[in-house]
């Protein structure tokens, strides 16, 4: 059984979705929890159309029913988890009536969903950015983990919590320590012994010991002058961050901005220096996918003109700043540095991943990799800790002036800001412009026809865009993507962040639509 929440898999992870659809055709059960009736709804035995941002209330409601009706895994809780009493107390305040009211669904649907998910073991819970891109994103994830621990669905194949990662190597960029608090292998920068290990390996005297800034703090630092030099590698922040006007003001405030990329884009125009990089098929290396599988990437052709592999650019800069960096290929970087420094990757070597990749943790060279975590209920931190969380509403809710909720995401035929897919023959023919997806009900009220140009306004800005009238979208919602500069949802989105992760609330802000 699958429960898919906040994940439009058929468009954002199409090949993963084919395996879910195969499983359903072979008799697996699927429950879809999503405000939209997107592609997977046709395959689900039950679609639970919760209101945007009501996830925790709904999940707490499910746990309330599971505990009340004695449908949870007591043995797993007793032997593998801690802090269950706090969870029990917390969800006691979310009877189905309250959960249903917040989530905008019938009371029976909460009870029915709880009974269904308790009836099959194991159940795999898949989520994507519909869970994380909220001011309560971290708590949403905690709540999902609570549910799976309560059901005893952890540490087994076809169970667990399965986040489908967005970009091809967002898992890898985290694993490599492109984060302000950890080195590669999730080793904390605040632990002196860890720093000593990296100081020795890198031949430097003293590595910084305090946690660094996250992207939104960096961007604000450009305006406050806390940040003077900014180096952006392969990110089109001017189109991807919430509230484009704010972002562009921040980028324009940079005292010195270096951008390393493969194309000019909306971000490079703010740069002082642009460095031309090799693209995906122009260098050897590795990507790590959602399953933590380290896969090879290989060279098909050389980069154009004077463009150079990124590792060469970083190494040149390091040498010019007085250091000796010896690794001179991706293979040397992986085999001689990364896999030596990151214990969970120690067993992954290039010669072992020529064909299928290896899934970390893979601690030794004779280890065959790890398909799923927390086996037999043995959590990385010992006992699985219930972190009970309260529901909080989105930072900006609809009101009289902006009566609709804007939620954003990705569409099948393009990827993010189209720097790549926009330059591939055929893909623009399949999707050539942004649309604002609205429900037939709202279209009727506004007198808007399918394909009619409309104006969508928020407190941050406005865009003029074609209306796509579709039953996928519930009444009260506008749904948009950010693939095109014109009509980009990020002119409208709210730069409100999860207080801990600083993930922006792309999934919920208040908008109004107008006929033109």
């Amino acid at each position: 059984m699958f429960m898919v929440i906040g994940s439009n898999m058929t468009e954002a992870h199409p090949v993963a979705a084919t395996f879910v659809k195969n499983a359903v055709q072979n008799g697996a059960r699927l429950i879809l929890v999503d405000p939209r009736a997107h592609g997977l709804a046709d395959f689900a035995e039950l679609h639970v159309p919760i209101r945007v941002g009501s996830d925790i209330a709904f999940l707490n409601g499910l746990m309330h029913v599971l505990i009340k009706e004695d449908l949870y895994d007591k043995q797993f809780i007793q032997s593998c988890t801690m802090d269950f009493d706090a969870l029990r107390q917390c969800v006691a305040a979310y009877p189905p009536e309250r959960a249903a009211e917040i989530a905008g669904i019938p009371v029976d649907m909460v009870i029915d969903t709880a009974r269904r998910i308790a009836s099959v073991r194991p159940m795999m819970l898949c989520y994507t950015l519909g869970i994380t891109e909220h001011t309560c994103g971290k708590n949403n994830v905690m709540s999902i983990a609570n549910l799976q621990m309560l059901l005893g669905n952890m540490g087994m194949e076809c169970g667990g919590v399965n986040p489908l990662r967005g970009q091809n190597n967002v898992q890898g960029a985290c694993d490599m320590g492109a984060l302000p608090n950890v080195f590669c292998g999730y080793q904390s920068v605040t632990i002196p012994e860890i720093r000593a290990k990296f100081e020795k390996a890198w031949g430097v005297d003293k590595l910084p010991d305090k946690v660094g800034l996250m992207i939104p703090q960096m961007m604000e630092g450009l305006v406050s002058k806390k940040i003077r030099g900014f180096y952006i590698f392969g990110e089109n922040l001017a189109n991807t961050e919430p509230d484009i006007r704010k972002v562009e003001h921040e980028l324009a405030s940079a005292e010195f901005l270096v951008v390393q990329d493969i194309f000019q884009n909306e971000t490079t125009k703010f740069a002082h220096v642009i460095l031309p990089a090799a693209a995906w098929s122009e260098n050897d290396g590795t990507f790590t996918n959602s399953e933590r599988r380290v896969n090879r990437v290989r060279t098909a052709s050389p980069p154009p003109g004077a463009a150079r592999p990124n590792w060469w650019i970083f190494r040149e800069l390091a040498i010019r700043m007085g250091q000796t960096w010896t690794s001179a290929s991706a293979c040397e970087l992986w085999d001689d540095e990364i896999s030596v420094l990151a214990p969970n990757l120690s067993g992954v070597k290039y010669r072992r991943i020529e064909a299928n990749g290896l899934q970390w943790p893979c601690p030794t060279e004779n280890h065959s990799g790890t398909c799923f975590l927390h086996k037999d209920g043995q959590f990385t931190c010992g006992l699985g800790k219930f972190k009970s969380v309260e529901w909080t509403p989105p930072a900006e809710e609809p009101d009289e002036k902006y009566p609709l909720v804007l939620s954003t995401g990705r569409r099948l035929y393009h990827y993010h800001t189209r720097t790549q897919t926009g330059r591939c023959e055929g893909l623009n023919d399949l999707l050539g412009e942004e649309t604002a997806d609205i429900s037939p009900a709202d279209a009727g009220i506004m007198g808007v026809a399918h394909n009619e140009m409309i104006r969508v306004k928020s407190r941050r800005g406005e865009v003029t865009v074609k209306a796509r009238v579709t039953g996928e979208v519930p009444k009260g919602m506008v749904w948009m993507a950010f693939h095109f500069r014109e009509g980009n949802a990020n002119w409208l989105t709210n730069p409100a962040y999860d207080p801990e992760t600083l993930t922006a609330e792309y999934k919920a802000c208040a908008v109004a639509i107008e006929k033109i």
């Binding site: 195969n22 990662r165 970009q167 091809n168 190597n169 967002v170 898992q171 890898g172 960029a173 985290c174 320590g177 080195f183 590669c184 890198w202 910084p208 305090k210 992207i215 960096m218 630092g221 003077r228 030099g229 180096y231 590698f233 990110e235 991807t240 990329d261 493969i262 740069a271 220096v273 642009i274 460095l275 031309p276 990089a277 995906w280 098929s281 590795t286 990507f287 790590t288 959602s290 990437v297 290989r298 098909a300 052709s301 154009p304 463009a307 990124n310 590792w311 040149e316 800069l317 010019r320 700043m321 970087l333 990749g357 099948l412 990827y415 591939c424 023959e425 055929g426 893909l427 993930t503």
Partner: protein, 373 residues
């Protein structure tokens, strides 16, 4: 243990296994044009015919039973296969040398096919065609269908895929790929009941409007009926080097084969049996590769002029400027006045280098990437 006689040799099998499956396990080659791994036997092509207990059966859909006597290569079986292959060659515009070698009207045939193709080339699948391989192996020729008056459906205006049913052998692999593997239900499945002569529009597995262009059907097509528009007539398969790599789009990490000719990717297919995608790709993975050859690629370092425009620079000048400014900022404001954003699209080794650069060279932990956004 269950066993049966396979070409005179006692061979074990498991209940439910088909003759074709057991033969494959035991290294006995039985040809098939319609068999598609991972789906129920289709049984349309008829080429996998074998002799079982004295009668001709389709090995793909006939389960083995205890004591069965199977022969896979008797003269009668070879003759049956030849007849079947010839019928398939005759059913459409198979204008490879094999397909039309038996024709006395070679020129007329070629000209007719080439007119309908709009190309002076031989079939676009030449060299990468299962039917051509089998015709060669069994020394069968045929392919005069173009001289008949039959009309075939054809779809060449849609993006990315050219569907030319004049080369379709009605094997049904595309139907299974679309309906059972990708589960997109975008190809008509009930094409076999219609007669190609009488109702050509209904006799072929044509695509519906809800096609999402994953191209699984193209990968499954054993002949030249479904072809990538970007690859068609731009290369010949034997010239391509196949390089395995990982898709640059979403976090699934599909394994791809890049077909590369003269340093240029001409086509992308999924790696059959490769984890995690088992040969499958989506529209971006299969068709989203040519951005790398865009004329708009950055080809040289650029430095901004005072008026906001950019001028070309050498690496030496650009890197020199970057290093001077970084050093100056660190000297005047400390390393924490520097910040970097790494790339979740690029390889692990790049993100490692960038975080190492910020921590070990600049001396700050102000390094992040878009995982949080």
């Amino acid at each position: 243990m269950n066993s049966f006689s396979l070409n005179g040799r006692e061979t074990p099998f498991e209940t439910g296994e088909t003759i074709l499956e057991v033969a494959e396990k035991n290294g006995v080659n039985i040809p098939s044009l319609c068999r598609l791994k991972g789906v129920e036997p289709i049984g349309n092509c008829g080429v996998c015919v074998v002799e079982a207990d004295g009668t001709h059966v389709l090995s793909c859909s006939t389960p083995v039973h205890q004591g069965m006597k199977v022969r896979t290569q008797t003269p009668a079986i070879v003759a049956a296969r030849k007849e079947r292959i010839k019928a398939l060659l005759d059913s459409g515009n198979h204008n490879c040398a094999i397909g039309s070698a038996g024709s006395k009207s070679w020129s007329t045939f070629q000209q007719t096919v080439q007119r309908s193709d709009g190309s002076a080339e031989l079939c676009p699948a030449w060299g990468d065609c299962r039917l051509q391989d089998l015709a060669y192996e069994y020394q069968v020729s045929g392919g005069r269908a173009a001289l008949s008056t039959r009309t075939y459906p054809r779809e060449s205006d849609a993006p990315l895929i050219i569907r030319d049913y004049s080369r379709c052998i009605r094997c049904g692999r595309c139907v299974a790929a679309c309906n059972e593997i990708q589960v997109n239900a975008a190809i008509h499945a009930d094409f076999l009941s219609a007669d190609p002569e009488l109702m050509p529009g209904k006799a072929y597995p044509v695509a519906k409007d809800n096609c999402v262009y994953c191209g699984e059907c193209v990968q499954a097509c054993p002949v030249g009926a479904l072809v990538e528009k970007k690859a068609r007539y731009h290369y010949r398969p034997w010239k391509a080097k196949k390089i395995r790599t990982t898709c640059p789009y979403c976090g699934v990490g599909c394994q791809q084969l890049l077909h590369v000719v003269d340093d240029r990717i001409v086509k992308v297919t999924g790696v059959e049996d490769g984890s995690p995608n088992m040969g499958r790709l989506c529209v971006k993975g299969r068709f989203g590769y040519d951005f790398i050859y865009s004329e708009e690629r950055l080809k040289t370092p650029l430095i901004r002029n005072d008026d906001g425009s950019f001028r070309e620079a050498t690496w030496d000048e650009a890197l020199g400027l970057v290093v001077d400014r970084f050093k100056q900022i660190i000297r005047d404001h400390g390393p924490d006045a520097m910040a970097g954003v790494s790339c979740a699209r690029s390889i692990n080794e790049d993100s490692y280098q960038m975080m190492k650069f910020f921590r070990a060279v600049i001396g700050t932990n102000n390094i992040d990437h878009c995982a949080r956004t």
